[in-house]
Symmetry: C2
Subunit: 374 residues, 2 copies
């Protein structure tokens, strides 16, 4: 069989405060068109359909509408899971009815052990879960880390393998060695909660969600699809799209999908930027990252620039005068381990020893677990 | 055919701060049991399934679970609409899939013109809507009031009547002459947005939601089911339950359903209330409205009472010393027209003239419309 692998739609997400609903509608439309052109037998969505556990009503209406279009109107089967950004309880609404039209939406760990068989393939849909869910499901107090839980989960799945078929795992985690961008919300601290790659080698293909770059991991047949849109400046040079996999050949093929509004980078002086002869050659309806060559103070700079470039993501001074993204904001995009490590180095002039680094990650993990429980 | 009529579940609602989820689960379970005992062909839910447009995840999980139980497990058809408390966009999630198992959930005005035919009956499921929805649907700028909109809607429905069948309307509005309790959120001001009773006479039965008492309207075959639970002290003597209607006889039969925890009223002295011999005869796990006969000041009164009666709704002094429900709070439960009318009378010593009263209601309506648009 032939399926399309996408993930991390994050419907409702904003980019530096700008609403992306029109862009998201457009990118889902392009996914639907490609699915039809390529005559895929199913669309796999590997988690983070929404950006927030309580999405806006506009986000809910967009996803509802697109799923109706994909599954009820175009009759394309859908295999989906919840990610760390989705509320599994809310996302589950209606899911028992969806199965009738080959729309499988798994939001609970227990559902992962009911593989969906389609043509020559068994799909294991494993939603994002916390170790506590594995402790309860397996009634095993030792499953305190995601590594231990995942090992148990995959061992259990193996007992369900039909050797006459291919096995595909759909899941939403940080796989050890994966490359991060700035737009993911870390679910792992200091590597403690990352899933070892080796656990995934038992599957013919692993369709991942969570990391936003398609290049985050390229070992074997384990792939992140990446998000369909750029969600941070760090992704400016990323190519966004989806994978299409044929289970006969098992060679993932990437299909790039252009966004409605791309992120553009430009280096110029303030005066140039405001010259009609200069800006009329640009598509100013895109998102702009501006690098100013000026040295002088420019009063009311942002307002003047925004009149010409309505969607500015950042303005930097090439000569280091000012940036529109203050230090604290940049810090917020790093994970806690990085922030504290950098802080320690800046204050003491020394680097953390291996032992200190381990203490730190364990402490942060405890704090993170406590926070999630509350 | 034979159907059960309920409404105003308001899942997630709290009673004076107390969580009602266990009570709501229990009352839905009792409705399901009755539906099976009475072998009804469908359950009609006339709006306000949730208490808020963004219900808590616990409320979502409860409704999801109970609808699965009713429709997928017990195979009972469901005919439901959204009320003024529901977010029609959110509640619609999954609804196109539900039809396959005879679960009809209408959240848009346009859906009201696709009657559901079951056995000898046409069900018109008309969700709560604002006049703006009728203006857009009929492309008619004159539909500025709910009366005008409703007249147009029902005229349109009449063109769809199959004279060989019975017609049942399911809707969620304030019908002129209906009796209010303290627990509804007013959608009408000064009568401007109430639906004239005469418009409903064309139907063999009208299954209403919105008002919380089953006795709110008892003319002809037009009924409010009332809420399954008491949601305010003003409902203390209400009998809660559901109607069962047989379309052969068309005589609505009320079936009372006892709550998990009822509201009890008690008149006693503070000392009596704290005597084990006194309170051990009471079911203290119920909700209590306490009237104290004492005249003296009682330090730390509420804390002492709560140790024995964990679910106190109010404490009143029969001799008028103090009440636990201050004046302002009581005012909040009245509708704006009443509050201003009372205020005017208290300040001027005069009553509003008919003209003044009309100005007031029109002004409030404009304010209400503006607020809803924002």
């Amino acid at each position: 069989m032939r399926f399309l692998h996408t993930a991390d739609w994050h419907i409702g997400k904003k980019l530096h405060g700008y609403d992306l609903l029109a862009d998201q509608r457009d990118s889902i439309d392009k996914i639907i068109r490609l699915a039809q052109e390529e005559a895929v037998d199913a669309i796999v969505i590997a988690g983070d359909l929404y950006d927030r556990s309580v999405p806006s009503v506009e986000a809910v209406e967009l996803l509802n509408q697109k799923l109706i279009e994909i599954n009820l109107e175009k009759k394309i089967p859908v295999l989906a899971i919840s990610g760390n950004h989705d509320s599994s309880g809310r996302l589950a609404t209606g899911s028992p009815w969806f199965k009738e039209t080959d729309f499988y939406l798994h939001t609970q760990l227990s559902e992962a052990f009911h593989p969906i068989e389609m043509a020559d393939t068994q799909f294991f849909l494993l939603p994002y879960f916390e170790p506590i869910a594995a402790r309860l499901y397996f009634d095993d107090e030792r499953l305190t880390t995601i590594q231990a839980a995942m090992k148990r989960v995959i061992t259990e799945m193996e007992t369900l393998f039909d050797t006459t078929k291919k096995q595909v795992l759909v899941t939403h985690f940080f796989i050890a060695g994966g490359l991060r961008t700035d737009s993911e919300t870390p679910i792992e601290v200091g590597g403690l909660n990352s899933v070892p790659y080796e656990l995934l080698e038992k599957f013919d293909y692993v369709a991942l969600g969570h990391l936003h770059s398609k290049n985050a991991l390229t070992k074997g047949n384990v792939r992140y699809s990446g998000s369909p849109l750029k969600f941070s400046l760090s992704e400016i040079n990323d190519e966004k799209g989806v994978w299409i996999i044929d289970t006969d050949e098992l060679i993932p093929a990437f299909h790039a999908l252009p966004p409605l509004r791309d992120i553009q980078s430009i280096e110029a002086s303030f005066d140039e930027l405001l010259q009609p002869a200069f800006y009329q050659q640009l598509n100013r309806e895109q998102f702009w990252q501006i690098s100013l060559t000026d040295r002088a103070v420019i009063p009311n700079m942002m307002n003047q620039l925004r009149e010409v470039y309505p969607y500015i993501l950042s303005v930097e001074r090439l000569n280091g005068r000012e940036t529109s993204q203050p230090f604290l904001e940049r810090q917020r995009e790093q994970n806690p381990q990085q922030v504290i490590t950098t802080f320690f180095e800046e204050i003491t002039g020394e680097t953390l020893t291996e032992k200190q680094s381990k203490w730190l990650s364990e402490g942060l993990q405890t704090a993170l677990d406590t926070e999630k429980r509350d």
